[in-house]
Amino acid sequence: MWVVVGVVLVPLYWTLVASLTPENRLFGTPSLLPGRLVLDHYRALFEARDFWIPIRNSLVVAGLTTLLSVTLGSACAYALARMAFPGKTLTLALVLAVSMFPQISIVSPLYLVLREVGLLNTYPGLVLPYMTFAMPLTIWLLVGFFRQLPADLEEAAFMDGAGRLRTIWEVVLPISAPGLATAAILTFLYSWNEFLFALSFAMGPERYTVPVAIALFRGQYQVPWGEILAAAMVASVPVAVIILVAQRRIVSGLTAGAVKG
């Protein structure tokens, strides 16, 4: 197991060391133990490059996508899991089908649609396309989660006089926290890392997200590896923090229903 951990961690370590190594020594004799460490690349990143802008953009887009898809997705998922209505299975299948299209095949049509409605280079212009993969993910995850909740609890709430909405708010949602957290985290991570849509629908640096900004660092004649690696470290920070804080919840959310608790 330690071998696997090592294989995974070495590139990360290498990135960290390289991002702290001065530019002129980056291509010198590589050494596992770093020599002089400097914050030059990070300074350049936030001063010369204004890396705050892509970070802010990414936070806004990923945050909004997560918020919307979890709110709307949990409502859809509850209906699909608990209510009886015609065409339920078909709806679920369609939701899944939407997420099956390869992203590259819908970039051009989406571009045309967004241009038509004037949403290119705007936050909604990224959030709405992101919902196309975030919603199916959320819905499928939460339908499974809601189905394995004991129906007795909701019936007890009905008997206690709570209506459907009160029951969802006071009983279903609180006990669904692990499922909701899992859905939120996965959505956030996908949106944070998403590249193709962000590259295609953001026109100028003021709307670039982190992955796009990093990709466009390379100039015509040189690749600023130091800054790219520093940016990669910065981009990984929210992801790492989220995973560390929420890993227990993710695991329990992903395995919920698989094993009867």
């Binding site: 609890l153 019936e155 007890a156 008997m159 206690d160």
Partner: protein, 334 residues
């Protein structure tokens, strides 16, 4: 408190299986009616129809004379105790008890007062700030009862409330339930598959089988005059001995309770049998005997002091007026 009536109620599930068929039943105000039957007999569905958690496919349901068939469970003002208790896991015991009162818009001070009073009466007042996960099975059961009682509903619906308790706790809680029923003089509908629970608790018992009512009556009435073969077999432990025969040329089923048979010298009773199994219970002993010409072992209840050993050949005698006779087809009492 209120009376409950079902009129020709039926429940057919979308896939076609019939859970309850044409069932009419009147539950009097203040009565503890036990719905008893094997699993799949439809007893839980009847409870859910009364609760409003299922809509009947046919027939009407009345509470206190008011037709509630189309009312949702929220507006029927009934309380239900679920088999697995269904306590809200994320709420404290106090919040579990208060939830129903809060949903009905009661003032917070009045809620506090009522929750404390009920908690004290049930001996759970020291548990009020715990979560259900921190309670033992018996304590959870009390909280579930408390959540129903605190509401002061029109009637209580109990779905196998004792089946998750260990046997010792079960008999204790059963007695408490009976006491509670007397004290509250509340209308209660109690579902169980355990005929002993039904006999000891019920003011009246309704025996269900395959979605139909077999018989409704006081416990001893069911025991002494079972209306059908099914009731005869289901009520009373050990179960009644049944065998087919004919009376006046008509095929019938005869039944005699193990308690009504006495062991006598071989040849001096109705039949002779060979003792196969002896089960001493203390005050009494259950003896299983093989009788020639019968597939089933005959069950006999004898006094615990009577010495019977496996392999003994004995005679069996029963008074003629203790023989139950049922139609061979249909199983109705003849």
């Amino acid at each position: 408190m209120a009376g409950i009536s079902l009129r020709q109620a039926g429940k057919r599930f979308p896939k076609g299986q019939v859970a309850v068929e044409n069932l009419s039943l009147d539950i009097a105000d203040g009565e503890l009616l036990v719905l008893v039957g094997p699993s799949g007999s439809g007893k839980s569905t009847v409870l859910r129809l009364i609760a409003g958690l299922e809509a009947p496919s046919s027939g009407r349901i009345f509470i206190d004379g008011e037709d509630v068939t189309d009312l949702p469970p929220q507006q029927r003002d009934l309380a239900m105790v679920f088999q697995n208790y269904a306590l809200y896991p994320h709420k404290s015991v106090r919040e579990n008890l208060a939830f129903g009162l809060r949903m009905r818009g009661m003032a917070p001070t009045a809620i506090d007062e009522r929750v404390s009073r009920v908690a004290a009466a049930l001996g759970i007042d020291t548990l009020l700030d715990r979560r259900p996960a921190e309670l033992s099975g018996g304590q959870r059961q009390r909280v579930a009862l408390g959540r129903a009682i605190v509401r002061e509903p029109r009637a209580f619906l109990l779905d196998e409330p004792l089946s998750n308790l260990d046997p010792l706790l079960r008999t204790g809680t059963r007695a408490e339930l009976a006491l509670l029923h007397r004290r509250l003089s509340a209308t209660m509908v109690y579902v169980t598959h355990d005929q002993e629970e039904a006999m000891t608790l019920g003011t009246r018992i309704a025996v269900m089988n395959q979605g139909r009512l077999e018989q409704v009556g006081a416990p001893l009435e069911l025991y002494e005059r079972p209306a059908t073969v099914f009731v005869a077999r289901f009520v009373g432990a050990p179960a009644m001995n049944l065998w087919s025969g004919d009376r006046g040329g008509q095929p019938v089923t005869f039944g005699v309770r193990p308690h009504d048979i006495s062991v006598v010298a071989p040849g001096s009773g109705e039949v002779d049998g060979v003792v196969e199994v002896v089960e001493p219970l203390g005050p009494q002993t259950v003896v299983h005997l093989a009788v020639p010409g019968r597939d089933e072992l005959l069950r006999v209840m004898v006094s615990g002091t009577q010495r019977v050993n496996a392999g003994d050949c004995v005679g069996l005698r029963w008074p003629n007026d203790r023989v139950h006779v049922f139609d061979a087809n249909g199983g109705r009492r003849a």
